[in-house]
């Protein structure tokens, strides 16, 4: 019996799955099918080190070619899959040919959400290496960058652009950037970080149109604000790449639906990473998460499940942002909370904030406090209900609160 595992997608998720499968002694063929021409690469540097010119293309690669050769992992790059037929055991490609497989991992990821009407030569939706290279080539002293979206992508791009000597105007549709994730008070902290670093951040400004001008571009907002620039970079979230799943009879609803074992509704078909709308046992709801750490950890769980080793994926979710010389981190998931308590100093940008819902720690957000984030994740995962006074008391070790 053959035991070929095929991933649809060849990004971080597929690469980590391949590594995990080999480490866990899977000895059958592994084939990664990716529509991009590049070897599996990491996207976080595209708005950070790569954009800043501190890293080159090869620095972003997850799997090197030598490792793939040694471990018999086949990369089918620049190749678009159209459909999985798990019952008959193959993936159909765009040209009609087939790749035989026994188990399948949907790792098609997500793409940049586009704003209708916001297209053009000078408009960049930052998602892939080519987008980042285009943007990087525009960043120079005096360049006028218009960032649409003041979230983490927008602020990271602004950070790199400012460091390159460019002027940045950021148009954020919400009244406070990141309000949905962080709430108004912590969103204001992020706004302050941007403004303190010379970003002209304008909130409540939804973009209406973009027009090419002589040598530049002009953006108008619904409020009537007009901004002229050299380049527009858009970071307003992502949408899942569900086409292959939909064509394969796999249940989709804001992403591919999977259970806590990364299983889809189709036998022998698993999914992981940005594409999944996964049942999360800790938060008792479905979540679609577009973060690198989720891609990594869910891929590891999926690989183990593919090999028949039942592994629940219940990581509390974590992501980071490096911007303006500061390290921001977030863990957990909270849509509503009764209280945000702060350990450290918001004024000094050295703190971790805990989001409490009926006393339970549900999420945490830190600025320059990554040292506390590991225990914060543990507190979230254990659904602890620590005394808020202890959470903010720096004389109390967070580890001591695990029993609460």
């Amino acid at each position: 019996m053959s035991n070929t595992i095929v991933t649809i997608g060849a990004g971080q998720t597929a690469a980590v799955a391949a590594r995990t499968l080999r480490r866990r002694k899977h000895d059958g063929p592994i084939i990664l099918i990716g529509d991009e021409k590049y070897s599996p690469y990491q996207r976080p540097p595209l708005s950070k080190e790569f954009l800043a010119g501190e890293q080159e293309e090869a620095d972003t690669y997850v799997l090197d070619k030598g490792w793939c050769a040694d471990h018999q992992v086949e990369l089918r790059l620049g190749t678009r899959a159209t459909r999985i037929d798990a019952a008959d055991g193959y993936v159909e490609l765009e040209d009609g040919s087939r790749v035989a497989g026994d188990k399948f991992l949907v790792a098609t990821g997500s793409r940049a959400r586009r704003i209708p009407g916001l297209e053009g030569e000078r408009v960049i939706y930052l998602r892939g290496l080519d987008d980042a290279t285009r943007l990087r080539n525009t960043l120079r002293p005096g360049a006028r960058v218009i960032a649409v979206g003041g979230g983490f992508i927008g602020s990271e791009v602004a950070s790199v652009a400012r460091a390159a000597g460019a002027d940045v105007v950021t148009l954020e549709a919400l009244d406070t950037p990141l309000e949905r994730v962080l709430g108004a008070s912590m969103g204001q902290v992020c706004a302050r970080i941007q403004r303190d670093n010379g970003v002209d951040l304008r909130t409540g400004e939804a973009v209406e149109s973009v027009t090419e001008t002589e040598g530049g571009v002009r953006v108008r907002t619904q409020r009537g604000t007009v901004v002229d620039g050299d380049v527009v970079v858009v970071g307003v979230g992502t949408v899942p790449n569900t086409e292959v799943a939909e064509a394969s009879g796999i249940a989709v609803d804001n992403g591919v639906l999977v259970d806590e074992y990364c299983r889809t509704n189709v036998p022998d078909v698993f999914a992981a990473g940005d594409i999944t709308n996964h049942w999360h046992p800790l938060f008792e709801r479905r979540l679609r998460v577009e973060h690198f750490d989720n891609a990594t950890k869910q891929a590891m769980a999926a690989a183990k499940n593919i090999l028949g080793r039942a592994t629940v994926f219940d990581d509390p979710h974590w992501f980071w942002s490096d911007q303006f010389g500061l390290n921001l981190q977030h863990a957990g998931h909270a849509e509503a909370w009764d209280d945000i308590v702060v350990r450290g100093s918001v004024d000094d940008l050295d703190f971790i904030a805990f989001y409490l819902d009926q006393g339970v720690v549900r999420a945490a957000f830190s600025v320059e406090r990554g040292g506390d984030m590991f225990m914060a994740k543990e507190l979230i995962a254990a659904q602890t209900t620590p005394d808020p006074a202890s959470l903010v008391d720096e004389d109390v070790e967070l580890a001591e609160l695990m029993a609460s």
């Binding site: 990554g370 040292g371 590991f374």
Partner: protein
């Protein structure tokens, strides 16, 4: 070149369980965990953060920068499949001795 040098006294590790020492121009962090002392290169292989500012937990040090978790003994980071450089350590009486030869264990096996 490999040689053993005394880098600390045990009592220096008693309270905070960690200490940064400099060996041949490189910062090395010592961690006392359980009955043993471990030595890793202090600068994280990822983004140059100091592991001394990290958290010790279950035989690992968690880097504050991006939450990479390094095994104290081997330096191994499971999700990244990479290794932080480590050093061999001997405790002789109250003295902590370190082999100056930095090693990278278990890289991409």
């Amino acid at each position: 070149m490999s040689e053993w040098v005394k880098v600390a006294d045990m009592k220096e590790l008693a309270r905070r369980r960690k200490k940064v020492v400099n060996v041949d121009g490189e910062d090395v962090v010592l961690f006392a965990a359980g009955e043993k002392v471990y030595a890793l290169r202090d600068t994280c292989i990822h983004e140059q953060r100091s592991l001394a500012k990290g958290t010790l937990f279950n035989g690992r040090v968690i880097c504050p920068g991006h939450q990479w978790q390094f095994d104290l003994a081997s330096g191994w980071e499971e999700t990244q499949e990479r290794c932080q450089p480590t050093y061999e350590v001997k405790v002789e009486g109250d003295e902590v001795h370190l082999n100056t030869q930095q090693r990278v264990l278990a890289e991409n096996d």
